[in-house]
């Protein structure tokens, strides 16, 4: 055995435990999910191949259709809000002012809070009686009476969106702020010398420097938001009457009925979009050392 082959054998040995665990715990279940979505498997019975029957059933299932629509709304609206709030606050905190470090630390707090704690707390905030939200609105002069934020179809999804944005914006804020801090000050000085206004400086200097950060963050956030379970599960469980149903919750309900083939089909149906997002994200994130 030459030194070179010994070295690469050592390299394989090092990577093997993690790689094998992932093949067994991610790769195999991933393929298995696709397989059982084409069967009528139930818990304890592998079932038989039924082709696209689960998918054609879903295509006419109102809960599934609402879950797709709600997931798209949830992803697009929360990403837009998180980008706006994250970018705005990052631009503010990137300036010099007294107490800036402390402000940054406080703005990061929702990110440090476990998701289940966040959404349980927001469920309490949204309570029609004794919920903090109504009390705050009343204190600032907006007395709306008793509003059952999570209980009515018109307000339920916006309420889920607000809580999801609250938990998710710090990730955007920190990522964008880190991007802003890599921009050399000289670039702004040069732009000012050329007579660029604040707005022009943003588009000529700031935006090009954080464009990649924004794209990667958008892709990651879309993948995570589309697949998030805790927000809807702990706030509304998909209700009232599917107004906030999203596909992870629907798949979980499906699993409770024991029909796992059908339940798996709910997640697998969204796979084509997921794969496109993941391929974009990995291409931008993957760094080869050569």
């Amino acid at each position: 055995m030459t030194a070179a082959t010994r070295l690469s054998a050592f390299a394989y040995v090092l990577v093997a435990p993690a790689a094998l665990l992932l093949v067994g715990l991610v790769g195999y279940p991933f393929l298995y999910a696709i397989y059982i979505s084409f069967t009528d498997a139930v818990v304890g019975n592998a079932g038989k191949w039924i082709g696209f029957a689960n998918f054609t059933y879903l295509a006419s299932n109102p809960s599934f259709l609402s879950s797709i629509l709600n997931t798209v709304i949830l992803v697009v609206v929360t990403d837009g809000l998180k980008l706006g709030i994250g970018l705005g606050l990052a631009l503010l905190v990137n300036r010099e002012f007294v107490g800036r470090g402390l402000v940054r630390s406080f703005l990061m707090l929702p990110w440090a809070m476990p998701a289940f704690v966040v959404f349980l707390t927001w469920r309490l905030l949204y309570q029609p009686i004794g919920g903090g939200l109504s009390l705050v609105l009343k204190a600032v002069g907006l007395n709306l009476g008793i509003v059952d934020w999570l209980g009515q179809p018109q307000t339920a999804l916006p309420s889920v969106i607000v809580a999801t944005v609250w938990r998710g914006f710090p990730f955007w804020f920190i990522s964008i702020l880190a991007g802003l801090q890599t921009i050399p000050k000289e670039l702004y000085e040069a732009a000012r010398m050329d007579g660029a206004s604040g707005w022009q400086q943003f588009w000529a200097v700031t935006f090009p420097s954080i464009r990649t950060v924004i794209i990667v963050t958008t892709l990651l956030s879309s993948i995570w938001t589309a697949n998030s379970f805790e927000n809807v599960w702990l706030l509304t469980q998909g209700g009232p009457s599917d107004a906030t149903m999203v596909f992870p919750v629907l798949a979980y309900f499906g699993m409770q009925t024991q029909r796992i083939g059908e339940a798996a089909a709910v997640s697998v149906a969204t796979l084509p979009v997921l794969i496109v997002l993941v391929l974009f994200a990995t291409t931008l994130m993957h760094r080869d050392d050569d």
Binding site: F106, M113, T121, G195, M255
Partner: protein
């Protein structure tokens, strides 16, 4: 010249002096920062304050300030609901996941950063794919696999399935830290008679200590926060983790908000303090590899 012209133009446009504009800008900025801080801190305040309110005050006499403070909710949660068992289960699972994950992923990350071999690029991509494969897709097949392995309803089974997200994340983050370790230091160690494994243990890992700490905290938090897989796999009361125990408190008609918020405080405040203190490491780690938010 250009600067003067531009300033004159803005002066003409809105008729305000430079200093007035600056003051207005500062006030607007202060207002936005205050509103943002309030929006972030109020829910946290509400969680803490509700956990300290008398159960009868929470819904019957709602107010922004508590009428009286009580530890009753904590007593109910810890004594009547046995929440300490759940915290213990969560600690066992999260610590085990963290140790296994940091160990295996340091090996894997070191291998992919320092060596050149045939499938390295493919492996790197596979770790990323695994990182981005959502739990919502995996929970159904994983529950079947765990049942076949007779690991359903066990904390060890939970540790196994949590590796699905912690291993790829920690490998991905550690690669970033290991790249920053100068190759020369390792080569010097090899000349001094250490083998490659010795170089990893004695040079690379100690030099990446802040990175290892950040990765350990992220891995721990990921396992500590997980709900969906625990919900699917754990069926007996004695094996429930903290999020799972709180989840089962909300399945009744009348929600016990006091004990619920006491549980929320106990499961989040230690972590939030940790993040607050270790903020610098955490931000570096997060921006190096984009941690789930």
């Amino acid at each position: 010249m250009a600067v003067v012209a531009a300033t004159n133009a803005t002066l003409r446009r809105d008729g305000l002096g430079v200093s007035q504009r600056r003051w207005l800008g500062r006030i607007a900025m202060l207002a936005i920062v205050l509103v943002a801080l309030f929006a972030v801190l109020f829910p946290i305040y509400w969680m803490v304050v509700t956990s300290l309110k008398l159960p009868r005050d929470i819904l019957r006499t709602p107010s922004l300030w508590p009428h009286a403070f009580t530890a009753e909710n904590y007593r109910i949660l810890l004594e009547d609901k046995g929440f300490l068992v759940n915290i213990g289960n969560s600690l066992i699972v999260s610590l085990t996941v963290t140790v296994i994950s940091v160990l295996f992923s340091s090996f894997a990350a070191y291998s992919m950063v320092r060596f050149r071999y045939r499938f390295r690029g493919v492996l790197g991509r596979l770790f990323l794919f695994a990182y981005l494969t959502p739990t919502s897709l995996l929970f159904i097949p994983l529950s079947v696999v765990m049942a076949q392995l007779h690991l359903a309803n066990s904390l060890f089974g939970l540790v196994m399935v949590y590796l699905t997200f912690s291993l790829p994340l920690s490998t991905w983050l550690l690669q970033g830290y290991f790249r920053a370790v100068p190759r020369e230091l390792e080569e010097q160690a090899l000349i001094d008679g250490l083998n490659r494994f010795g170089a990893l243990l004695r040079i690379v890992l100690p030099l990446s200590a802040p990175g290892l700490a950040a990765v350990a905290i992220f891995t721990f938090t990921g396992a500590w926060n997980e709900l969906l897989l625990a919900l699917v796999l754990i069926t007996s009361d004695s094996q429930r983790t903290a999020p799972l125990a709180l989840n089962y408190l909300i399945t009744s008609d009348v929600l016990p908000w006091g004990p619920l918020m006491a549980g929320a405080v106990l499961s989040s405040v230690p972590l939030m303090i940790l993040y607050f203190i270790a903020q610098r490491f955490m931000v570096q780690g997060m921006t190096a590899g984009s941690v789930k938010g």
